[in-house]
């Protein structure tokens, strides 16, 4: 795969390549999205509605949707219940939960990761081993027994959430621990949901997700969304991000408007890689990171190779403008009400440049004569 063009400016923009690599990595294992950070009620609700939108666009049966859903809810509640503030004993960047959803041929997979103390490991392992040793009937009995005993832990659970996940998924739960330091470990929990009750899902190696977790921690990525983008998924993403950006109103508003323009560009102008895909919306990747005091918003999507040169010159032109020139250009394009097939950059691109206050960084990766991959990155 050859790079067909180079970046604006002379700096090193390894993050742009990173965007494409992340996309490839996520495509490879069909990862839907990754969320990293604290899990609040609002964020949890938005993640659920985002998943809902995506299940709608893929046209799953109501039965499958319901099962994926209920497990999703259990997994997310499991994280919110067990996430804790760990103070100075652990780096902030390491102290965040992760939530990953992926889809393979005939199954969905949900993986969560959160920080636990080493001392909690023996109990968790034995609970999970016990749950995994039961057949469905035994599991049901065990569930009832725990409910009747009413022995709840101080976190409000008695492993009930774990039992529910095992029951609803109809499969064994995979889990793993990864040591962070002398006190803490990550606890990864992985549930597979087969679409057909009697089919056995492919076993997925947790190694890739552990690696991805390390990458998103290092890059301080808050969220990766890889999937079909349409107005509904855009709105869910916006509400997740609104809950995640702990900044003043002005910053939140700027990030908000940048995201709207970037994602609506994908909704309007991106193409599907395979022409016969029937999804409602276009595939794309979006991720946001917060490093060294600024936010970086990145998108990646397929476009027609034939428009690469034109898009590149539009971006270069907008990057070359400064101050009043940008303002004038904005006004000129604002008052152009023709159906847009002009050679000049659209209002969206100009707005991105003005709101970010920085040059737009981009790259194109030629896939074949018809299709290229376009990455765009904006710092704010």
């Amino acid at each position: 795969m050859a790079k067909v063009s180079h970046l604006a400016g002379n700096e090193q923009h390894s993050n742009l390549d990173f965007g494409f690599k992340l996309f490839q990595g996520m495509q490879k294992d069909n990862l839907g999205y990754i969320y990293r950070g604290m899990f609040t009620q609002t964020i949890t609700d938005s993640i659920i509605s985002l998943a809902e939108t995506n299940l709608e666009t893929t046209g799953e049966s109501p039965k499958v949707k319901k099962r994926v859903f209920s497990i999703l809810v259990e997994c997310l509640q499991n994280i919110t219940r067990h996430q804790t503030e760990h103070g100075d004993e652990i780096k902030d960047t390491d102290n965040s939960g992760i939530f990953v959803i992926q889809k393979q041929e005939n199954s969905y997979y949900i993986t969560t990761g959160n920080v636990v103390q080493h001392t909690a490991i023996p109990k968790l392992s034995s609970q999970l081993e016990k749950i995994n040793s039961f057949d469905p009937d035994e599991l049901k009995e065990y569930y009832k027994k725990i409910l009747e005993d009413g022995t709840l832990s101080d976190k409000g659970g008695a492993g009930l959430g774990l039992i529910e996940m095992a029951r609803k998924s109809g499969n064994k739960l995979s889990y793993e621990f990864a040591k962070i330091n002398d006190v803490y470990s990550y606890f990864y929990l992985h549930a597979a949901i087969s679409k057909e009750v009697d089919s056995t899902p492919v076993v997925i190696d947790l190694e890739n997700i552990k690696n991805l977790h390390q990458i998103v921690n290092e890059e301080e990525i808050l969220l990766v969304f890889n999937g079909v983008l349409n107005q509904d998924s855009l709105l869910s993403l916006l509400s997740i991000i609104e809950g995640q950006i702990a900044h003043d109103v002005d910053m939140r508003k700027r990030v908000y408007s940048l995201i709207v323009e970037m994602l609506q560009n994908i909704v309007k102008h991106a193409i599907k890689y395979k022409e016969n895909e029937t999804t409602i919306g276009n595939p794309g990747i979006f991720f946001i990171s917060s490093k060294n005091d600024y936010y970086t918003l990145s998108t990646g999507n397929y476009i027609e190779t034939i428009i690469v040169d034109e898009l590149k010159s539009k971006l270069d032109h907008v990057n070359s403008l400064v101050g009043d020139e940008l303002d004038l250009f904005y006004t000129k394009r604002l008052l152009n009400f023709e159906i847009d097939n002009s050679k000049e950059a659209g209002l969206g691109i100009i707005d991105l440049r003005m709101k970010s206050g920085n040059k737009l960084e981009y790259n194109f990766y030629k896939i074949d004569d018809k299709v290229s991959f376009f990455t765009l990155q904006i710092k704010i």
Partner: protein, 123 residues
């Protein structure tokens, strides 16, 4: 003329065009995917209104956010109002929340483009 009232949604604004109560306003957020389609009924209404307008009209905008696709549609509405001001007494009131520099700047930009009574108001 009958009023046109469009209730707000998560991504579209509330629009009230009501001659009987002398109320004309566009409020909240505007980020529809298809801004052309969303604003089409508004232009249809305004076109008929231009034929027999009221004598005095105050048109308010109080937006918290709009995308660039909506920015064009808003510009179009404003140009319509400028045209209307040849027949009626038109005043545009652009309201923005305190500290919302974005909406304030947008109002200033629009006001410079138009030759019509235009007031910016911090609310």
């Amino acid at each position: 003329m009958d009023a046109l009232i469009i209730e707000k949604t998560t991504d579209t604004p509330r629009i009230v065009l009501d001659p009987l109560n002398n109320l004309y306003e566009i409020t909240d957020r505007s980020l529809p995917e298809d801004a052309n389609g969303f604003y089409a009924p508004v232009f249809q209404w305004l076109t008929s209104f231009l034929d027999k307008p009221e004598n005095k009209i105050q048109f308010s905008f109080c937006l918290e956010y709009f995308n660039t696709a909506s920015a064009k549609q808003i510009a179009k509405v404003l140009l319509f109002l400028e045209k209307l001001s040849q027949k009626s007494e038109v005043k545009i009131l652009w309201k923005y929340k305190k500290d919302d520099t974005d909406m304030q700047a947008a109002g200033i930009r629009y006001s410079k483009l138009l030759n019509v009574k235009f007031e910016l108001l911090e609310v």
